[in-house]
């Protein structure tokens, strides 16, 4: 650490990246983001334990809630992430592989910090869940219909869903309103829309039409196509209740 920034080459190769994470977290905090989600893609695919101390650095500077996703497979993984200061953990493929994980996490830590991420797309008129979407070579069907999985996960104690609509992901053509509406009608816990945001109108559409509780976006913010403060002013003007 130097001047409050993690510097390169002290112990771990990824420190420069971590420095970027902190700078980005600070920027979004100051721009008025209501919550941040960190996808930890360094999560070890071969089962080795990973260094998650960056979560502690993030917790130190953030005064808004944040969620960590990626590589959380056990109660111990979850406990470590929460003890480092994350408010929520998000699980996806490990929950599909072993749905009991949701039950165990909810019982141990409370539903409020157990987010279930779902990657889903339309296939001949039926929405189906995909797994291991982080790695194109490993992405496969989870052999579940999306609404069935939503109901089961909620029954098991999921406290929030992030629905990543794969058809829309990264193309910035708008959220998948139809799919989000369907999931909204099948759950009674908070639902966060993910995938497809390209313009400020897309955010207004998803709140008004799909009644989601939050809109998640990455590229439009990272690439500074949309500034969070401007977006919030716009949404308030559209009659959507949002923290300024």
């Amino acid at each position: 650490m130097r001047d409050g920034q993690v510097v390169k080459g002290v112990q771990f190769r990824n420190h420069e990246v971590v420095g970027d994470i902190l700078a980005l977290a600070e920027r979004y905090r100051d721009e008025g983001a209501d919550e941040l989600v960190f996808y930890d893609i360094t999560a070890s695919p071969d089962g080795r334990s990973v260094d998650r101390s960056w979560i502690n650095r993030v917790a130190e500077i953030l005064d808004i809630p944040f969620c960590v996703a990626g590589g959380i497979r056990t109660l111990q993984d979850a406990e470590e992430v929460l003890n480092f200061g994350a408010d929520k953990i998000s699980i996806n493929s490990p929950a599909l592989a072993r749905p009991e994980l949701i039950t165990e996490l909810a019982r141990r830590f409370g539903s409020q910090c157990v987010v279930v991420g779902i990657d889903s797309r339309d296939e001949d008129g039926i929405y189906r869940v995909y797994q291991n979407t982080g790695d194109p070579d490993k992405t496969s069907h989870a052999n579940r219909e999306t609404t069935d999985w939503v109901k089961e996960a909620q029954e098991r104690g999921a406290g929030e869903f992030v629905l990543n609509c794969m058809n829309q992901d990264g193309v910035r053509q708008g959220y998948d309103i139809k799919q989000l509406k369907l999931v909204r009608d099948n759950c009674t816990v908070p639902l966060i829309a993910s995938g497809g945001a390209g313009t400020m109108e897309h955010f207004a559409d998803v709140f008004k039409q799909a009644h989601v509780d939050g809109g998640l976006a990455a590229s439009v913010f990272h690439k500074q196509i949309i500034e969070i403060g401007d977006l919030k002013t716009y949404l308030a003007g559209e009659g959507i209740e949002i923290r300024p």
Partner: protein, 199 residues
């Protein structure tokens, strides 16, 4: 002796609260020791989890007797605020009984997801030192499934299907249903007000 004693209820996720206090220049200690708690300038009762569990942990450390007798400013956060009241519908838990009232589960509906998670406004219904410098109707971050109706000690209320107590102040006992440590600059201001009020 730390400035702030945080009562250890055994839950994970105390880091964010300790960091928030540190940003305000206050050192804190996580403890269940009655003497440490009695001697601290400020006491915070946090709480994530279920009311019955949390009360059981307090009882096993003898804190169900210690806490109501404290005379320095105490702030209950989230479940910690609910524990200050008589009881909770959650597993029919008997709480500390400092403030009159019972926590009830929210009505669950498609248009009203539970847990209630997110940023909501706090309407300031009575003056309290906790609101110094905070505009009426400011947003704070909530995470809860149970809530208290408004009572005489309520100083702030929030609406989620029904009006509930979001800030309470009775003598030296204060509480916030939201998480000030995760509520941006106004959350930090509320914590600062709690720390800096006259003893």
């Amino acid at each position: 002796m730390p400035e702030v004693a945080i009562i250890d209820g055994g839950g994970a996720n105390i880091a964010s609260l300790r960091f928030a206090l540190k940003r305000l220049g206050a050192d804190s200690e996580l403890t269940t020791d009655p003497d440490t708690i009695r001697a601290a300038r400020r006491v915070i009762l946090p709480g994530v989890g279920a009311a019955a569990d949390a009360m059981e942990k307090l009882r096993s450390a003898g804190l169900d007797k210690v806490i109501p007798a404290l005379t320095q400013p105490l702030l209950g956060i989230c479940l910690g605020m609910q524990l200050l009241f008589d009881s909770s519908e959650e597993e029919d838990a008997t709480c500390l009984g400092i403030i009159e009232g019972r926590a009830h589960l929210f009505d669950i509906a498609q248009d009203q997801p539970v847990p209630h998670m997110g940023w909501n406004r706090v309407k300031q219904t009575r003056n309290t030192v906790l609101f110094n410098g905070i505009p009426d109707g400011a947003y704070f971050y909530f995470v809860h499934s149970y809530a208290l109706d408004t009572v005489a000690a309520t100083t702030g209320r929030t609406s989620y299907g029904r009006n509930f107590t979001s800030v309470v102040h009775q003598g030296n006992f204060m509480g916030a249903q939201f998480h000030p440590e995760r509520s941006g600059k106004y959350g930090a201001r509320l914590l600062q007000n709690f720390l800096e009020q006259n003893d």
